[in-house]
Subunit: 419 residues, 2 copies
């Protein structure tokens, strides 16, 4: 953390649906990450009900403690939504009908073939003294004003409306108004290696991080993220220091790092396939379609991905993938020999260059002393050259499926990038 005094923020979520445990508040977490990334310190997050006195008390307390207060929720047209009234009360402003907002809502509604109604008219009343921001995804505008030296932002509660307003319109204004520390963040994504092992590899670097740099571990079941943050007074220095550190981490970890930021393993695999002009098919037993599902989430993947077989029964392994009866009876469905034949079978029968084949025991039943639940065999490659590996997982059914699917994709990534 830097030594400069950081701007402090409070995030307030308004909504009864959260307090009764019906809705998970993802807005506050997203807002916190956005503010943190820009060097703003989130002091507190608070969820309160739709009741006027609760909202008022939360805002009054927050503007005492923080220079920035971000509220979400309570801006819809229904009776429950009273954030605007409360803001007016605290700021000693008035709600005034804004023809501009109403015209804009009218236009939006007409584009949808609808007419604005009484509720939309109500939504067009805005607090005097506040700036408002048109919401391209809904009808509730965002608002920004100042009360007692604190900036107060009010956003709709619908996540995609809130996110777009914040990113596109509010944050640029905040960066102008607040003394925001200069910082930069990059997150490296790794797969297939445990956090403890990665930490060992990076221990020398971590113990000697230059001033202004920090490293955080964000572990997951399969993928460990490493977030590097650089803070300081000079934009160019901050970024250069960060880039140098990222280069060192990449140097140490090599191809354990599969991407950055929001990259997904499936996107990286698709990128490699496209670059090498290879086609792909999958043969899945225990992962049951999960690998195909991940791949088909990537737009345009059909350029390389042709499809696959979910060979849940041995009959299908034999008939559709041409796995030999003898292989199954001698070595079992969960074996190196079976996944090799599944891989060769899907490549031949689907006429593709590359494939992934997985067979394992996801649980909770089906384990033996030889092959306990969590035993998974994976083969990647083609008809000729194959890489085969055994995984021994220790999770529940769902996580065994997800983790073996992701690890299989990672094996394919390494096969393609090393090949």
């Amino acid at each position: 953390m830097g030594k400069t005094t950081r701007t402090k923020a409070v995030i307030i979520t308004i909504g009864d649906e959260i307090l009764i445990g019906q809705t998970l508040d993802t807005n506050a977490t997203w807002l916190a990450s956005q503010l943190h990334r820009r060097g703003i310190e989130v002091l507190r997050m608070l969820t309160v009900s739709d009741r006027e006195e609760e909202i008022e008390r939360a805002i009054r307390q927050s503007i005492k403690d923080a220079e920035l207060v971000v509220c979400t929720g309570g801006l819809g047209p229904t009776r429950d939504d009273i954030t605007k009234e409360v803001l007016c009360k605290i700021a000693e402003e008035k709600l005034v009908f804004s023809q501009e907002v109403f015209d804009w809502i009218t236009e939006r509604k007409r584009q949808q073939g609808k007419e604005p109604n009484e509720l939309h008219r109500r939504q067009s009343y805005m607090p005097t003294g506040f700036d408002f921001f048109k919401n391209n995804r809904g009808t509730a505008p965002g608002m920004l004003g100042e009360i007692d030296d604190s900036i107060i932002v009010s956003l709709p509660g619908v996540p995609y409306e809130m996110k777009e307003l914040m990113t596109e319109q509010i944050i640029p204004v905040l960066l102008e108004k607040l003394p925001v520390e200069i910082s930069a963040v990059r997150t490296l994504l790794t797969a297939g290696v445990a956090e403890s092992e990665l930490a060992q590899k990076l221990s020398g670097l971590e113990d000697n991080l230059p001033e202004g740099l920090s490293l955080a571990w964000l572990p997951g079941h399969t993928r460990v993220r490493i977030r590097l943050t650089s803070r300081g007074d000079d934009r160019q220095e901050v970024e250069q220091r960060l880039d140098e550190c990222v280069a060192r981490v990449r140097d140490i970890l090599g191809d354990i790092v599969y991407g950055e930021g929001d990259d997904s393993l499936e996107e990286v695999v698709f990128g490699l396939l496209r670059k090498k002009q290879l086609s792909l098919a999958v043969a899945e037993s225990c992962t049951g379609g999960f690998i195909a599902h991940l791949l088909t989430l990537v737009p345009g993947v059909s350029a390389c991905f042709k499809g696959g077989v979910v060979a849940y029964s041995n009959q299908i392994k034999r008939e559709i993938l041409n796995v030999n009866e003898e292989t199954l009876s001698e070595h079992g469905a969960v074996s190196a020999e079976t996944v090799r034949e599944m891989l060769a079978g899907v490549c031949r029968n689907f006429g593709v260059d590359t494939g992934v084949a997985v067979s394992g025991i996801a649980g909770p039943d089906g384990g033996t002393s030889d092959k306990p639940v969590g035993t998974v065999w994976v083969a990647v490659g083609g008809v000729e050259k194959q890489h085969v590996e055994k995984l021994q997982l220790n999770l529940n059914r769902k996580l065994n499926i997800e983790k073996s699917g992701l690890l299989a994709l990672n094996m394919l990534r390494l096969f393609l990038s090393r090949d």
Copy 2:
């Protein structure tokens, strides 16, 4: 809502990782649903940092406002975790070494082949005047005490540790100590019909709900949940009123309701298949393995589910599913004719009684004026009897895939239950 004064609660989450947006706080939502279900009103949720003064202020304010304060986090053995110290300070109690806790941690560690260390010794100090509860999943005990007529509960932040402690040990104690209103909840699950249409069907019932009953809508992209809550003074009456209302809703909605509580569509489909002793395979184009993935999340599903084909390319539709070249060129891959042949093909080639076939345009590219993005054809049934339906969705790629997969499963459910 009943007219009795409900017990008020505040939920406090302690942890810097939440305030920087790194971790989504699922604990508070889960706790809120548990308390709400038992008639306790959650007044506020609060997330604060690991700093002593922040924790202290949050707890002091909360015990003024609520009869119950539940804290999670800040109980681990590291320096950051100081909830216990703060509790002692507020309650004017002392931290005293508990041989009982240390012996129990020692035993847990030895079972894992390890010895307790200095940090575990530290964890064995407990505030005097507090009851503690052994944590079967970790080493941090839960605590319960009273400060100024409020009950204060402190739980570890690791979700599965927290949940088990709360459900198994803390809630029974709370129910004894607090004047908890009697209530009962059942949640009906529906699929394939929009909330507005469901609301219309239930409007008569909703307008005339008996005293003590309430109905809440929990909408989702594909599945709408209807939660019925009954409150009152007499357990038998509360439950009887609830059961009668559930029966009326089920009567009105018929097979739109696919289950209750945590039932999943895939479990319900599996139940129907098993009952009818039918085998199943899937032929997926745009859903790309998602339906197979859902089905294979169900333990034991291999008794009925044999597997499937992800026929992403037309070549695979022809070669593995025997869709006619002419069908594809005349009607296109996204057509009633193609999904009919995909269904018949997968049933024949996989030797199963029943199947699902899906072909559509998930987007963002590939749409035409005739068949815009979101056009999806689904066929369910077998070789002889088939039900075919066209969906027109309007979401992004990922949600188009998920929604069409779930709607296809729902069509299969209706086919199997009406057949």
